[in-house]
Amino acid sequence: EPEVTQTPSHQVTQMGQEVILRCVPISNHLYFYWYRQILGQKVEFLVSFYNNEISEKSEIFDDQFSVERPDGSNFTLKIRSTKLEDSAMYFCASRASGGAIGELFFGEGSRLTVL
């Protein structure tokens, strides 16, 4: 069964360092997302990506964040200068079709710990 894969599963970094989280969405999907979940809290929307551009972003997704789809398969989230409060689980998700939003397929997440 097709699945969304994310790497790394866990990354520990020092405050101020750059981090890149990688995702391989399901191959025929068209919409891509990043969400984050601070431990024990709600799942928060960061950004959606369609047709090689950001379609929507939240207030969390400030200038320190960027996304890229460098080739036909990978979808990356970069945090330029990490802060302690960036520590969270980051989930990539994708969905197949346009129109009204349907089911999202999530990866297992990348846990980011900023020290």
């Binding site: 709600k42 929307f45 959606s48 009204a100 939003i101 999530f106």
Partner: protein
């Protein structure tokens, strides 16, 4: 404003009992979805109910939607220990947006 607030935040029941979780939201929606998350894992889609539907079933799951009250409920019948997880509702298509907005979740514990 918050969308998708679940109630209760935590629920603990005995195996075999039914579990009911509720979700409220504030704005108009295209659909409402329920997801499950095992501890430390990704979210798994359970069921989607459209704004013009009132009830939907999938196996041991029953979802209702009341758009006049802006609320939904998820019922898990004949619960099993393996149902222990967090359950999130998510609203889709709010004001035409192409994203899901998740609630705080209900932590469900099924005691054997």
């Amino acid at each position: 404003s918050q969308q998708g607030e679940e109630d209760p935040q935590a629920l603990s029941i005995q195996e075999g009992e039914n579990a009911t979780m509720n979700c409220s939201y504030k704005t108009s929606i295209n659909n409402l979805q329920w997801y499950r998350q095992n501890s430390g894992r990704g979210l798994v889609h359970l069921i989607l109910i459209r704004s013009n539907e009132r009830e939907k079933h999938s196996g041991r799951l029953r979802v209702t939607l009341d758009t006049s009250k802006k609320s939904s409920s998820l019922l898990i019948t004949a619960s099993r220990a393996a149902d222990t997880a967090s359950y999130f509702c998510a609203t889709g298509g709010v004001q035409g947006a192409q994203k899901l907005v998740f609630g705080q979740g209900t932590r469900l514990t099924i005691n054997p």
